[in-house]
Symmetry: C2
Subunit: 663 residues, 2 copies
């Protein structure tokens, strides 16, 4: 009968969190985050157990460790700081703690006033063994205690004092016997990004529409609108593809099958004879202009994000240089994109089943490297769900290994499991279904799924009230109130959000009838936007973005909590920093047509507040201040004014000295 | 740049259920069970996917497979039958289904009335490739279809008929291209036990108390009470240890430190000079007598369960033959069991940290084999939580490999995680906290944890209203109503339960003051039980056990559901077989002193019933029948009569012919 090799390892390590799909995928965190790990340590009998959380930057060999501390019900926790970008590995080691077990028994016997002379001798041996494991300094100290415990000439009370000394407990914990410890089967990983991966405010604009005159804009023209974008408080300016646009099968205005003379074509029909994914559209300028724009943006606190749309126009140089990267139809033509009855003759998808898939993967990977060379560190990836998950996993990992500060946003609107699979594969942020979640219940359930489940470990939502592809119905008909409400929801429900502007702040709301597509869509034409429109939402956007910068609570999603209201049209939620120092309460009127009022029932426990506590709430939009007390508080929101409150909570804290002051 | 070896495998396999701790532990099922596996298959793009559930008895090499069928949201399921005892392995393989993807596109184009001539050519090639993979019979059939699809002389409609033929779909599904399939990383396991592991009714009795006269009973005397036990409907008769009892430090009546002359000692103080764990107490008889008893019991439909208590009296032969198996104290004495202030000088625990732990493990393992030789297949293991988990995992696996029909019941009352860890390690059934769960809420939450979570996959509860160690407070003071209510709860909440008799049915209820210990505990003395006592609960026990045999719903726990009542003292729950053919509704009055009445609000959806449906409920205890309709129904229970209903549901089923009849 074969005995198991791990027969004598007694502690079981179970239910580590975070652990995504049994450790197949890394959790995600931000530089400087304290990383908290929890785990069940289960051991037979009445043994005391001890353990450590082991951690190291991936690629290094030596483990650092921090002692696990007990919670309740055999659950333990440990925390370390993620002090550098990249990936970190972590796992858990645990063992039975002979000294602690012995101390427990000794204490019980002392309490029961039983004879402990034999126990003291047993303890002497345990301490002597630790002395042999200990450092040159601690060893003799432990040996001295061991001698006291076994000495026949020392008084019982002296021995007991020595045995129960706190210093001894510390020394014994520092030199445990780990020869029969258990390691968790799996080394887990956490991905550490720079802060922008979690907290970012995106502004999407078409560079060619920046002249205001209807002429094709250039990167220089984009420079001129940077102050406008920055003044609203955005920190990312994202451009649809800036590459040459194909002419074959170019789409006209409103997606017309045939383009008119002068129609600029869709920026997503990438490539013409002048170049493809590594070239700049000649009418926008040059690579030099682009790099200058990136630098200028930086001066305004804006980071440029590019669109990575891995598909080509029929005129892309790849089509002739690498015909094997595309699917051929039996008649010898290349298969264009289609979703019957729709045909996209101006777009060729890549064939990832190509014989030369290796060449294709390497080339696509090199596109990121190329733009990284130009100073770009943010990529919005177009339709990543139509490319193999394994490709993204490989590509993102490699890029981020070379450039740990690169952030990828997945623009996938697809099946839920695939959305999550992309995030697991490495995307730093993800588009969401927010755009189509309208009611209190829909928003609550969806955001709870994103933030209160495992999903929160790997999927960072980026909420968009609109995109060039989506003008949702509520914006078509809900008027200014809808725009403001949806904006506040996006900017406060999630620490990352974005708008497609200036269409958004100028409240463009006319759709092709019966659709969620913009009429006269900017994808197919150059727009003239009046940035000085007095009706623009610019002021309120500016105020909300300022609130986001000022309130640390709005810069993460972990403590998002929804609170009951007695009126279904009023959505109330709060956010809080992990340390509890900053709390924000948001109330939004989801009825864009009528005033709604009601009582919110705050879950004060979740906010770490007392049911008797009076606190000030400061509306960061309207700049009003109110005093609230207890859980039930009245709210009234008039959509024709501002349909939302964003309250920062200011608590009156009782200090030891009994002075009241604002925290 | 290294490309990943699995680059071209596109389907992700996620969230397989059942999967316990990432596959570390087997799920548990019963012989003949259909084994249903669910899994997420996630693939990029718009590819159709297909997959199989692979399975085989552990130890064999060839996989059997069954095709996975889609549910919703990328979830799939497959089922196979567990047709033999032992362990089965299972895993999932999945791939992109080129033909199904192509059919989807073809259908869309046909619907959009687009030209499909090129698609038919593409399809021809896909079918021709399958022909090369297919059997000698199917190959030519597929080749013929391929020819039709590419023929230039065949009419379009003929081709389309050929392409969309159901037979073709079946053939193509039968010969998929699995060259780029994905396998789940882990081969999972399920343990298959005989039915008794799930459905069992235990009766614990002390063999020595079977004379009725106060004289020491023998196995022959036990034979004489078998008809009594069997007549109540039990199917397991379980004995505390039947081995020689030590005399050193023997405990007297009521756990007295010093035994009087004639005190029989605790059966758990195992071993004297005549033998230990492989010997029979001389006063009970011989091994021959024991084997005869096992056979007799079988004649009565009873299976004998033995107690495996791995500890010794100071007189056990092991103590001299293997002193290294025990912990020595510094004064040279052997460490007895203790939990200060309590001392158990009559009991020596084994030292699993012994130098000769290998010898100890092997010897304990051989004890099971010894009793298996004598015909025993059920073991109740005493305090398994004080022995290493790894020991049980090894020991149970080995024993069940040799004897697949052996069932182990874990008698552990310890921390929740350790209870579960023992079940994962291999115990077939487990004692529970039921004994201390009293209120509606306590019972509901606990049973939901046991049956509605992952726990149900590996932990089979065995509910005991009393044991020789536990006379819970409600039985001390609740009178007959408490005994009946707790009995009905145990016997219906779980498919396995047990009582310590005749103490239970004779309602022994006097405890040592302030404790949950029986006064004059049978552990330390021979009892005289009057089995003919007219107040015995025997009749109602008999009725409830008959209901358990007649109602398949009571023979499993998967579909346990709790239903709301408007009276907290009324607990209502239902059970149903997986096929929905048998349903039982139980209502128990948890107030043992007063009549309680109220309305139950049945979750008819959970029972697969219509809110307008009239159905008969047949009380299997009182033999009364009622008609109920809809979810709200009135119940009144008088504790002085019978404090519980056990209703079998009889539905009036509308047949096609419009005749009403009883299902």
């Amino acid at each position: 009968m074969r005995l198991p090799p791990d027969a004598r390892r007694r502690v079981r390590i179970e239910r580590i969190t975070p652990e995504i799909d049994a450790g197949r995928w890394p959790a995600k965190r931000i530089l400087g985050d304290p990383f908290r790990v929890e785990v069940d340590l289960v051991c037979d009998g009445h043994e005391s157990v001890a353990g450590v959380l082991l951690y190291r930057p991936t690629g290094t060999t030596a483990w650092d460790e921090v002692r696990l501390e007990p919670l309740v019900n055999d659950r333990w926790h440990g925390t370390f700081e993620l002090s550098q970008l990249g990936w970190w590995q972590y796992t858990v080691e645990a063992w039975t703690d002979e000294f602690a077990t012995w101390r427990k028994l000794l204490d019980k016997k002392l309490e029961a006033r039983q004879d402990v002379s034999l126990e003291l001798q047993v303890g002497s041996e345990i301490v002597a063994q630790a002395a042999r494991r200990a450092s040159a300094q601690a060893g003799p100290e432990l040996e001295r205690v061991a001698r006291i415990l076994r000495s026949t000439r020392t008084a019982r009370d002296t021995k007991i004092d020595a045995a129960t000394d706190e210093r001894l407990r510390e020394l014994m914990a520092a030199y445990p016997d780990r020869s029969r410890s258990t390691w968790h089967d799996v080394v887990l990983e956490v991905r550490v990004d720079r802060p922008k991966a979690r907290f970012s405010s995106w502004y999407e604009l078409f560079p060619r529409s920046t002249t205001g005159s209807g002429n094709h804009g250039t990167f220089r023209d984009v420079e001129s609108v940077l102050p406008y974008v920055a003044s609203m408080g955005f920190d990312v300016v994202y451009f649809p593809p800036i590459h040459p646009i194909g002419t074959s099968h170019r789409k006209g205005r409103n997606n017309a099958l045939v383009a008119e003379d002068g129609d600029p074509g869709s920026p997503w029909a990438i490539g013409d004879k002048t170049g493809g994914h590594k070239a700049v559209h000649p009418e926008l300028g040059t690579l030099v202009d682009f790099r200058r724009l990136v630098a200028k943006a930086k001066d305004y606190g804006l980071e440029v994000a590019l669109d990575a749309a891995f598909q080509t126009s029929p005129d892309h140089p790849y089509v002739t240089a690498h015909p094997e990267w595309f699917k051929k139809r039996p008649d010898g033509t290349i298969q264009y994109a289609e979703n019957p009855p729709k045909k996209y003759e101006d777009i060729y998808p890549f064939d990832f089943d190509s014989r030369d898939w290796r060449g294709l993967w390497r080339e696509l990977h090199s596109i990121f490297l190329f733009w990284i060379e130009q100073g770009v560190r943010l990529f919005r990836v177009d339709n990543p769900h139509t490319k193999p998950l394994r490709f993204w996993e490989w590509c993102i990992r490699d890029i981020q290994t070379r450039h740990p500060d690169v952030v990828f946003l997945a623009e996938a609107f697809t099946r839920p499991k695939l959305m999550y699979a992309l995030a697991k594969a490495g995307f730093s942020q993800s588009y969401t279904y927010f755009t189509w979640r309208n009611t209190s219940r829909e928003l609550t359930e969806y955001l709870q799924e994103l933030t209160e489940t495992d999903v929160g470990e790997f999927f960072r939502p980026n909420l968009w009230p609109n995109t060039p592809d989506i003008l949702p119905e509520h914006l078509q008909f809900g008027g200014r109130a809808a725009f403001i409400a949806r904006f506040v929801l996006a900017a406060t429900l999630s620490s990352s959000y974005g708008i497609y502007g200036p269409a958004f702040e100028l409240m463009a709301h006319v759709a092709r009838p019966g659709s969620e597509e913009y009429l006269d869509n900017e994808k197919y034409e150059i727009k003239r936007w009046n940035l000085e429109d007095p009706n623009s939402l610019r002021p309120i956007i500016t105020r909300v973005n300022r609130a986001r910068r000022e309130c640390a609570a709005l810069q993460g999603n972990v403590n998002l909590r929804f609170h009951k209201t007695d009126n279904d049209q009023l959505l109330c939620f709060s956010k809080q920093t992990l340390d509890g120092q900053d709390s924000v309460i948001v109330v939004v009127n989801l009825d864009f047509y009528h005033r709604q009022s009601g009582w919110v029932e705050l879950d004060l426990d979740a906010l770490g507040m007392d049911s008797q506590e009076t606190f000030q709430i400061h509306d960061l939009i309207a700049e009003a201040r109110y005093l609230w007390r207890g859980p039930r508080n009245y709210v009234e929101l008039e959509p024709q004014l501002v349909p939302a409150h964003v309250f920062q909570v200011r608590r009156f804290v009782q200090r030891e000295q009994d002075f009241d002051y604002y925290a």
